[in-house]
Symmetry: C2
Subunit: 803 residues, 2 copies
């Protein structure tokens, strides 16, 4: 259906879009007034800072903030070099290990697919084009060869017209041709290469994680264990219970514990006080600048009531709220019902914590559950005290929900896609048919629209899966995001990948798929339809993988919202930092998208290698863009030390196995492969006879069946070898660190260090939501790397007129 021309149109649109976005980014990011949009991370890290005067409202003199030095525009591609220049170790320090591991997935994509592209384009395309099956077939009305096939496959093959790119694909090879041995061998090479790369990657990331955890800083989560499902007893408070239990069972290592309170009401007071503090700061600023007492109205958010002195009013409000919060705090501490059945238990040494986190405490395995405490920022406070039975029920319901979402989302997608197809639009809106008969519009609809619709539908799901994961009751945000990513991956594989393959052009396949076809039949159906959908996925990769990152780097929404906020609402420095909205890498959506590229690349690597260069470009653009973003923009909300990697690894392995199953289906259709020249030429010699015998005895399918088995074995080995590093902390490592600590600081008071580490964020007296810019140690190397940007900033700042 889709021709090379359609792909060309789509490529043109996407390339234009990509270039437009990048040019836009380069132009906008050079303007100093956009620095807080395009380099918020540097502000948060304290590398960049405004001149003192710029904290005031300055929208009326924003023309001073345009870049006027045109030499800068000539150097506009320097951001690429800057993004790539920072070494990995510094990047870990600058942005955390999570971001680095995330970027390494792009690198892995390049490592896997660049050699594949070369082999695919050189070897496979040559072999495919040389076969010339489709040309012959088209002339002979495609009746002779398909008779030998399975009924379902042959009918499809003949019904659907082959497009230009199919001539470059495996479809161009006649059944049983000896050329297929080449594909078989290449599929082994590709699998082996992917596995080898995955192994190296897993090893590297494991080592990085170990090194990261083994670094010099003492962190509270190294000494602390989260205890859940403390059984409630009527006569004792949770406090005493926890204390007794751990004093008894870990007599020599137990240090202290912190209870978890239900502080929702307190949070309300604290947030309100925070808001008023902000207003107070604004009023004080106004006073200092305008030399006139600012006033406000006490009711309805400053709209009703008589005018009062703002500073005085806000101060009294803060006073009142502080008293209320203090009272609430006392109530919480007093009321045993507000104490949740969970606690953070800290130990005197890493060894003690490791032991407690990694063993079963109670003979009833549903109470006193221990696990490593997430780092304080990573805690999902709301989920800490869900009872065991409720947790189980929630998980069951979420699983059912995910199942329904994954398997019954097909229906609307298929509906909309069939509506948006050329024939669908023509039949729904007959008056449009004239427009549609123009080549360009037709190509637009065929090439661009299905991918775009898919993208739209896909955009709703992340919120849904995150919601599902939140309901599941994970105690850490990182775990929540990883499980949401896994759910989203299932969704993407079933709906985006298989859904597009089975519904887009051949909707009747769905019925065939669900209704009555056998296992083998399903594989065959896939094998027939997959080559035909290559052009669609090429379009998809261009929309999602080329234009997507380019649009991401442009940061349209933060740009607009920052300038809007800055013009009208920003009152204090804190507001300005809030208005920057640096954002984060949303792992729950980014990971499945990346994994989808792996899936497409692997499945099509042997079938239609033409897709590979598009994927390589997508990985390349993504790598550069996200490296830039990680350095300059994103602010990681927590650090899980690459804890999501095992999931990514598993999903890539799943992609490999889907590839193998597709190939099995393909070779099943193709029937036994002949040995070609060899067997017919040397039929009389002994070797020839043996080959003849082999030819009869062997089909290619058994060779293919071995591949998924090998892949599974490889996966299990990786799991055994590396996964423990993501789940447990070995005692040897704990002892080593304990001894080092002792030698370095023999008098360090751990109790003081841990005292408030796991306090509810709204529970401490002094709350400061603004990130502690001064306290963050800038590493000299980062400064070095960012020197160019900051130099430019300081020079432009110095040229500004102070208001």
């Amino acid at each position: 259906m889709t021709t090379l021309r359609d792909i060309g149109v789509s490529a043109l649109i996407n390339i234009l879009g990509t270039i437009f976005s990048l040019v836009g980014f380069m132009a906008l990011s050079l303007q100093p007034m956009n620095d807080r949009v395009y380099k918020p991370k540097l502000y948060l890290k304290g590398v960049l800072r405004d001149s003192p005067s710029s904290t005031s409202r300055n929208n009326n003199n924003s023309h001073r903030y345009f870049e006027t030095d045109f030499r800068q525009y000539l150097w506009s591609f320097s951001w690429v070099a800057a993004a790539l220049r920072m070494p990995e170790e510094n990047l870990i320090e600058h942005a955390g290990l999570d971001s680095v591991v995330y970027l390494r997935i792009y690198l892995l994509g390049l490592k896997v697919f660049v050699p594949m592209t070369i082999i695919g384009m050189v070897v496979l395309v040559t072999v495919n084009v040389g076969a010339g099956f489709l040309d012959d077939n088209a002339t002979t009305q495609s009746t002779t060869s398909t008779n030998t096939n399975d009924t379902a496959s042959s009918s499809n093959t003949t019904q659907l017209v082959f497009s230009g790119i199919d001539k470059l694909s495996i479809s161009n090879i006649p059944d049983g041709s000896p050329r297929l041995w080449c594909h078989l061998i290449v599929s082994y090479i590709f699998t082996a290469w992917t596995c080898y790369m995955l192994y190296l990657e897993y090893r590297t990331i494991t080592n990085m994680r170990r090194r990261f955890q083994d670094d010099d800083h003492r962190r509270p989560d190294q000494f602390t264990v989260l205890v859940q499902q403390v059984p409630r007893q009527f006569d004792e408070s949770i406090h005493i219970q926890v204390d007794d239990y751990f004093k008894r069972n870990h007599p020599e290592y137990y240090l202290t514990h912190q209870l978890v309170y239900n502080a929702n009401k307190l949070s309300k007071f604290v947030r309100k006080r925070e808001r008023i503090r902000n207003w107070l700061a604004f009023s004080q600023l106004k006073l200092s600048r305008e030399a006139m007492t600012p006033t406000t109205r006490p009711y309805c958010c400053g709209c009703c009531g008589g005018q009062v002195d703002a500073i005085q009013y806000y101060s009294s409000q803060i006073e009142e709220l502080t008293q209320k919060a203090e009272a609430e705090r006392l109530v919480i501490l007093d009321d045993p019902k507000r104490t949740m059945a969970a606690a953070f238990v800290s130990f005197k040494s890493r060894w003690g914590a490791a032991v407690c986190a990694q063993t079963q405490q109670n003979s009833n395995p549903t109470v006193w559950l221990t696990q490593w405490a997430p780092e304080p920022r990573d805690i999902n406070w709301k989920n800490l005290a869900i009872p065991y039975m409720q947790l189980t029920c929630r998980r069951v319901f979420v699983n059912i929900g995910v199942f329904l979402l994954v398997f019954f989302f097909l229906v609307p997608v298929a509906l909309v896609q069939s509506l948006a197809s050329l024939t669908g639009i023509q039949s729904t809106f007959p008056w449009l048919s004239k427009v549609l008969q123009q080549q360009f519009f037709a190509s637009f609809i065929q090439g661009f629209l299905p991918g775009f619709i898919l993208k739209l539908f896909t955009m709703v799901i992340p919120y849904l899966v995150t919601c599902f994961s939140a309901i599941e009751g994970h105690v850490s945000l990182s775990r929540l995001e990883t499980t949401a990513a896994t759910k989203f991956y299932y969704f993407v594989v079933i709906n985006v990948f298989f859904g597009s393959i089975l519904t887009g052009s051949a909707f009747s396949e769905l019925q065939l798929f669900v209704g009555q076809s056998s296992l083998v039949g399903i594989l065959k159906t896939l094998a027939v339809t997959i080559p035909m959908k290559a052009s669609f996925f090429i379009t998809y990769v261009m929309v999602d993988g080329w234009a997507g990152p380019a649009f991401e780097i442009l940061r349209v929404i933060p740009l607009v919202s920052y300038h809007l906020l800055n013009s009208f609402f920003v009152k204090t420095e804190g507001d300005k930092i809030k208005a920057m909205s640096p954002g984060t890498i949303s792992l729950s959506t980014s990971l499945p998208q990346l994994e989808l590229y792996f899936l497409m690349g692997l499945v099509y690597s042997v079938i239609t290698p033409l897709i590979l260069p598009f994927i390589v470009i997508a990985f390349l653009i993504g790598f550069i863009v996200y490296r830039h973003q990680v350095i300059n923009v994103y602010d990681a909300p927590y650090e899980s030390a690459g804890g999501f990697w095992p999931h990514v690894h598993g999903h890539i392995i799943a992609a490999l196995i889907i590839e193998h199953l597709t190939l099995i289906g393909l070779f099943l259709i193709q029937g036994p492969i002949s040995f070609g020249v060899i067997s017919s030429d040397t039929g009389t010699t002994l070797v020839g006879k043996i080959l003849q015998y082999c030819k009869e005895a062997l089909s290619s399918t058994p060779f293919m069946v071995a591949l998924p088995i090998f892949t599974m074995i490889f996966h299990n080995q990786c799991k055994k070898r590396f996964e423990p590093a993501f789940k447990r902390i070995p005692l040897e490592m704990a002892v080593k660190k304990d001894l080092e600590d002792k030698a370095k600081e023999p008098r360090f008071s751990l109790a003081v260090f841990l005292r408030n580490a796991y306090k509810h964020p709204d529970f401490s007296d002094e709350i400061d939501n603004t990130p502690d810019v001064e306290a963050t140690n800038k590493s000299p190397i980062i400064e070095d790397n960012l020197s160019e940007a900051s130099n430019r900033i300081s020079s432009t700042v110095s040229s500004k007129t102070v208001v």
Copy 2:
């Protein structure tokens, strides 16, 4: 094919066989000379003992050892009462927890199937017989109803003649009959009942296990951890390495360790010395009795060479071997290559051991692997030091081997069974056809032979799967046996159960099954064939479950071998104990057989409830027989505290799910079930309309699909709730026991207690293979229970004339 008459013949044969075996057992077991055959356990426990003179050869006056008191024969059924009388707690003390848990599986079978039998026979059989579909069908040549079915199923239904028992089964109900709602509801009741019973059982066994582990005895395995994969270093011995490692990583709890040596050569010496010691004892006995110096020849096992004084010769030989063994022992201790890369590490407290066994030690998860040490008797010494990579390879190969065994064993079974069918025999041996035309022989071949052939084939497999498990490298015998049982279960389910269903009468189904039928098609095929094979499985249950235990209790082989050995070879008391060969429950074969009864019972419970009474009787006979055997005969070689139960639970759950899948297939064939009377009568009212609507919207399949899902959820809950008790020891329990120990015996030296606990059995200086009869504490309660038997023994012994 098989009629009720065939089953009758088979039942007759089996009942006769069973009765014959039981009568034989009762007659033989009353003879005092057979006491060592039928009550070896009591000898081993020291409850029974021979009079001193009987240790000599006494075959020439064996007539004195027959029971002559005919009142005893009248009481011959007392063994049943005696077997059932002993309370469970005493049985645990007498025979160990493993045996008790094993017996509880029979009890569970009774608990599950007795209510099912009642409901099945009362409700389902009535409903089935009342439908009368097959009668109608037979008269109308079975053409009308089958047209509506799937092609495959209808052709089978019509091809295969229905037998008498099918009228009692679900086959007798026409498609879509409202009577099927009854089966649907009953299947829910049965599943719920089975799950409830399983839950209670799992809870009970978990508690028993906890109590057993929590008892007063101090056991070496509570303090000891098995460390494997100690990385070899060139400059340090394993001894120093282990010591350093655990001193560093468990500084406060590490006590000592025992190395594992490669002592194969030493074992040879020790065994030889043992043999010669036996000869020496024999010679000394001869000397004391015949008052003449016994002689022997020094070469070729006492056949060549000149006559020498036997006692002198043997003594010198023993001396020599002792020296050799000692030298070898020194060599082993000296040569670092003979030390294996594993060790038993003991800790000062249960807490320390629990921590070490249940945590990861090294950051490389493939070295310094720790696990709870099995109890000393349970260790599989040979497998202690297999390198990690070799272990992995072994597992992969064994898995492939098991897969091949499980899935390709079908072929010979099918071949032999088709040969042994009536038509098969007639075509192979035409001269037999006259004999075969006689009703009795035909019934014999149809009813008895297939089951017997299956049994024969099944008998080879246990050795094979045990061999597979041994290769897998499990360090404990209990684990070896449990994994062998799991492998055997796979084998039994696929080959015995599905193999018989799909090949026995309809060999063509196999091709249909493997070749091209879909998932749904497979279910439908099963649903068609399963009801037809009910009679076959009834036969199988009778052969295997009725005659089997009766034959087991008869102990033909031990009886013959004991008397043969006793007549010709028994020289010393040690020999006599060896000749008793008490045997054990072979879990690797018994468990899968029991699980197969569960599978048959559950699958047929709704389809052909007639099978249930046969299974109940099998469980009853098995329970009585094995309880008797456990008390009087079997000697448990090790104690795993019911460690195999989770496997049994999982396999019964698997059986439940197979039941559900079969029922789904069945209801798929039957099509949507009508609501019968209700919908047609009340068609005009509102309720009637709603019902009408439901009737159209609903089919029975969704109801059935919920069942396996619920079962899986139930299984997961059981697993989470109870399985940890079989894998880990909670720290709370360890601390409690530690404190109790300390309070009781504050000065107990654990180091002395553990010193030789984990020495290689051939490594200690003084070897005594005879079980330590005196040392075993007889509990007064057991004695009480066994008083009857021992009284009788002592009375008969006292009446004997001393030789």
